[in-house]
Amino acid sequence: MGLYKDIKNLLLGMKITGKHLGRHAVTIQYPEEKWTMPERSRGIVVLLSDKETGELNCTGCLLCMRACPSAAIRIDAPRGEDKKRHVKKFDINFGICCFCGLCEEACNFCAIRMAPKYEFSTENKDDLTWDMHKLQEMGRDVDYVDTRKKKIPKPKPAIEEKPASETKPAEVKPDTPKQEENND
């Protein structure tokens, strides 16, 4: 009978909405609750620092700047008297950045990386340009595998000879065990 079928279908609809009423909501309350981003997800671009010294890994080779298709990266790294580049300025304009990840691929020194962070909205467009220090701060807690360590040790003595008189090595040593504990 048509009427019987109609009533059955109406009740079926009510049953389905009733079932959904009891289920837990799939949305999350954004500022209070947040997604846990996957470890290797690609959000904002950050600059990585050396795990031991805390210095920037960046050597100022400008590869990322050349690789950037939208010219969002501006680096000012003039050669110093030691004929090495010293990074003075490293700005990324997130207003232009297209998050393609080419800078990350171009980098040979584990210096630039896309981190699993995504909150960088501002009230002012000018604030979207992040300078070196901000990028470094955002990259502090990003865990990474340091692939460049194998190559670095050879020139290391040459670097260490020059600032040997300074007290830097003494400061570094007590920090290292702490960081390792944290990483474990």
Partner: protein
């Protein structure tokens, strides 16, 4: 514990307050005027708050059916969201369009609002808790709630907008069509109650099996047809063609803004509560119930029916105009009249219990 709860009758508070007022030694006319004034203001406040609560509840139900949360920001689960909305609407600019019919445009929301409130004069909220027990109670309610149709038609005409006019005309056509099965299903109750007074109707169903919904076989049929017709009367989905957001933008209230819109909106939710309250009074035994105070029973039952109507809204798709009319005239009217004849025959032959 049940005895303590039973004694929490709201009517006692009113009797005590009236006693205090009578002792002041004012002329009787003043006593009457003051008491009716207080009751009027009280009803207005309670119903406005109730409408705000229903708006919030509707949004919560809608959210949870769609596995969202609904309003969550203001207070616990957004409980004062609608209060904030109402205050916002009060402050908003009253946009006055140039090409409108001024008189009709202005008075339509007022009439809609007043018509929604008028029905509460003879709805029994609890034992003795009724403003005026008119001996034509249900007839009065049916007559007064029909004013809403005129108000919506006025809004549609006054706005000088084709969508608004469509909404108003559809509203009139729908409400008049569904009034017929609605009254026919109410008549089945009236035959057995033997009275049009709301209090008498409640008192004639004094036990659970005396509720009109439990009177086989005509009771459940009358209840279901009443609920369907009431959904259409309250202009709610699946019968919300007068405002049909997708086709008529917002129908009759398209040109209204600020407080005028808020009046339409509140009136809509008060109408929702009205039809639920009538359903409870006529079919579900009104305030009757054990253990709890009578007003609480009434409120619980009514909110249950309101919840049912809300679930209808978020379950069923909207009907087309021709389907709507076909359903009213070709299905509901014959069914309710057959049911009415059945009930009348059983009453005449003395087969009922």
């Amino acid at each position: 514990m049940p005895l303590v709860l039973m004694s929490l009758e709201l009517i006692e508070i009113f009797r005590w307050a009236y006693g205090l007022l009578a002792e002041l030694g004012l002329p009787p006319v003043w006593v009457m005027l003051i008491s009716y004034g207080v009751i009027g203001v009280l009803m207005f406040g309670v119903l406005a708050l109730l409408a705000l609560f229903l708006v919030w509840w509707e949004r919560k139900v809608a959210g949870h059916v769609q596995q969202r949360f609904g309003p969550m920001r203001n207070g616990w689960h957004g409980w004062y969201q609608t209060i904030a909305d109402a205050i916002k609407l009060l402050q908003k600019e009253d946009v006055d369009i140039i090409a409108r019919d001024k008189f009709v445009f202005f008075w339509a929301p007022v009439l809609c609002f007043v018509a929604a409130f008028l029905a509460y004069i003879c709805i029994p909220f609890g034992k003795d808790l009724i403003v005026a027990d008119l001996n034509i109670g249900i007839l009065y309610i049916m007559a007064v709630t029909t004013f809403t149709v005129i108000a919506l038609l006025m809004a549609g005409w006054g706005s000088n907008n084709k969508y608004a006019l469509f909404g108003g005309m559809r509203s009139a056509a729908q409400a008049i069509s569904y009034e017929v099965p609605m009254v026919a299903s109410i008549l089945t109750v009236i035959i057995y109650a033997g009275s049009l007074s709301m209090v008498d109707i409640v008192q004639s169903q004094n036990s659970f099996f005396g509720w009109f919904i439990c009177r086989m076989p005509f009771g459940p049929i009358a209840f279901v047809t009443y609920i369907i017709a009431a959904t259409a009367e309250a202009n709610r989905a699946p019968f919300d063609i007068p405002e049909a957001e997708q086709e008529l933008v917002a129908g009759f209230n398209i040109e209204y803004s600020g407080m005028k819109f808020a009046m339409f909106f509140l009136a809509e939710f008060i109408n929702l509560f009205t039809v639920s309250a009538i359903a409870v009074t006529l079919f579900l035994g009104g305030w009757e119930g054990p253990w709890l105070p009578s007003w609480l029973w009434f409120l619980l039952k009514t909110l249950g029916i309101v919840f049912l109507l809300m679930m209808f809204r978020w379950t069923y798709p909207r009907l087309r105009v021709d389907q709507l009319m076909e359903f009213a005239w070709k299905f509901l009217v014959p069914v309710t009249f057959a049911n009415l004849i059945l009930a009348a025959t059983m009453k005449y032959l003395g087969w009922y219990w």
